[in-house]
Amino acid sequence: MYAIMILWLLVCLFPLWNLVSTTFSRDSDDLTRTFLPNDFGNGLGKLSYALTALNLIHATADTLGYTVVTILGMIVICSLVAYEFTFYKFPLKGFLYGAILGSMMFPLVLYVIPLYRFVVTLGISDTLLGVAAPLMVSPLSVFILMQFLEDMPLSFVESARIDGAGHFRIFASIVFPLLRNGLITATVLMFLNVWGAYLWPSLATGASIQPMSVTIANMLSPMFYTDPRVKIGAMLLSAIPPLTIYLFFQRYVINGIAMSGVKG
C-alpha cells in the first residue's frame, strides 16, 4: 500500500520539482533527465526573459484583474442570494432556487457562442468587466455559502430584527461577518477556477487584455520556436499563484470540494 501511495505521490509532485530543476539548469543539459538544478544564473535569465519578452508580467496583472473583479462580484451577489434563501420564505422561492439548481446542468460551453455575441453587442468584450461578469454568476458559490449559513442559528437574525435592524442591515452587520469561512472557501475555489480558465477568457479578450491561459497556450504552440527552458520557466511562474493560494488555504479548498460532492 505504501508503494502505491509513494508512486502516486511522485506522479503528482515530481513534475513540479522537474519544472524547477530544468529551469535552473545549463542549456546543454538533456531535457529528459535534469533532476537537479545546477545553473541558477541561467534559470534567472530564462525567468526574466519569460516575464518581459513573453509579457508574463502583463498577463499576470490582467488575469489577476479579471479574477479579482469576478470574486468581488461573486461575493456580493451570491452572498445576498444565500442570505435570502436561507433565512426567508417568499413566493416563488422554490422556483428560483430550482432555476439555480437546474442551471448547474448547463455548463458554460453550451451557451458560450450566444454569450460571446451578447458580450460583444454590449460593447464590454475585451474589458475586465466583460470577462468577469458571466463568471460571477456562480451557482456553486451560492450552494457553498448556503451550507455555511445553515449552521448559523436563526436566532441571530431574529433577535437583530427585534432590535429594529433593517433587512440589509442584518445582512451587512451580522450575517456577512459570520459568513467569513464560507466566503473564503468560495473565494479560493473561484480564484483557482478563473485563474485557470481558458475557453471563455480566450473568446472574451482581444488586443488589450492578455489572459495568462492564452499567453501560456500561445507560447506552447509548436508554430513558433521558444527556448524550451523559457517555456518551462514560464510554466513554473504561472503555477506560483494557484500553488500559493493552495498552500495557505488548503483546508478551505479541500473542504469546499468535499462539500460540493457530499451534498451534491
Binding site: 500500500m1 502505491i4 501511495m5 502516486w8 505521490l9 503528482c12 513534475p15 522537474n18 519544472l19 531535457l31 529528459t32 451577489i77 445576498l80 442570494v81 435570502e84 426567508y88 417568499f90 413566493p91 428560483l96 442551471s103 446542468m105 448547463f106 460551453v109 453550451l110 451557451y111 457562442i113 450566444p114 454569450l115 451578447f118 460571477m136 454568476v137 429594529g164 433593517g166 433587512h167 440589509f168 485563474w195 485557470g196 480558465a197 481558458y198 473568446l203 491561459s213 501560456i216 497556450a217 500561445n218 506552447l220 508554430m223 517555456k231 518551462i232 503555477a239 494557484p242 500553488l243 493552495y246 479548498v253 479541500i254 470540494i257 468535499a258 462539500m259 460532492g261 457530499v262 451534491g264
Partner: protein, 316 residues
Amino acid sequence: MTNGHPGKPVRPLGFRRYAVNYLGLLPFFALFVAFVLIPLVQGVLMSFTDWSTKLRGGTHFTGLTNYIYILTSGGTSSQRFLKSIVNLLIYVPTTVTIGLAISLILALIVNQFTGRQHGFFRGSFFVPTVLPLFLCTGIWQWYLNSETGLVASTLARIGIGNGVTWSQTPGYAIAVCVIIDIWHAVGFNFVIMSAGIQDISPDYYEAAEIDGATTWQQMRYITLPLLEPILFFVITYAFISALQVYDIPRILTQDTNPNSIGGPNQVMLFPVMEMVRNLHSGDKAGLGRACCEGVMLMFMIMGITAFQFRRRKKKI
C-alpha cells in the same frame, strides 16, 4: 417589514411585503438572466437559423437545415463534427473509467491512514487539480515529446511509441488527452470520494471487526455499498466534464489555419473545439451551426443527468 415577526404578518400578504427579499435576489438574478438564461434560450432558437457573423440582411429561420447539414451532408463542418463525436466516444469512457478507478483505489488506501499521514497524502494528491489545465497540458506536452520528454522517451525505450509524434498520431493523440485529464482530475474525484468514505459511521467497521471481517471484506461489503450515492454523483459529474473537453486538445493542436485545429486528420478534434471553430469560421450559417452543435451537446448532458435521476429514484 421592520416589525414583521415571522408568522405574524402585520400587513396583508402580497408581493410588496417581500420586496426587500426580491431586492436582495435582484443582482444575482439580473446577471443570471442576462448571462445564462438568455444565451441558453437564444442558443437553442438560433440553432434553427442561418445566424452568421457575416450576414447583413438579417437572420432567417431555416428549420432543421443546420442539423441535417451537420449530421448528413459530408461537407467540411459535417465531416469534422462527426469525427469529433467519434473521438469523444473513445475519449469519454476511457478517461472516466481509468480516472475514477485510480481515484477510488487511492481514496480506499488513503483512508487506511490517519492523522498527519492522511492529511499529507490527501493534500499532495490534490496538487495537480489545483494547477490550471493549461499548465498541466504544458507539462505533459513536454513529457510526452519523444525527443525532450521524460515519459515518452522512457516509454520509447520499452517499445511504446518509439519515434511517434504523440499529438499527431491516431490513438496516441487521444491517449495524450486521457493522460493529461486523468493527471488533473484524479485529485478532485479522490477528495470527494475520500470525504464520502469518512462520512461512513465507524460503528459499521467496529461491528465488522468484531465479526472478524478482513480489511478487504470491510471495503467490499461496507465502504463500497455505502459510498454508492457519492460514486454516482462523481460518475455523472465526470461524464459531463469529459464531454466538454476543450483546453487540452485545443492547446496541443493550435494552428493559425482553423481547419488544422484538431491535428492531422482530426486525430485530436472534439465537439467543443469544432463549435468554437464555427464561431470564427465566417461560414454561411456558421453561428447557427455552432449553436446547433451546442444543442446536441446539451442533449447528451441532459441524457446523462436524466439517467442519474432515474437511477436515484429506483434506489429510494
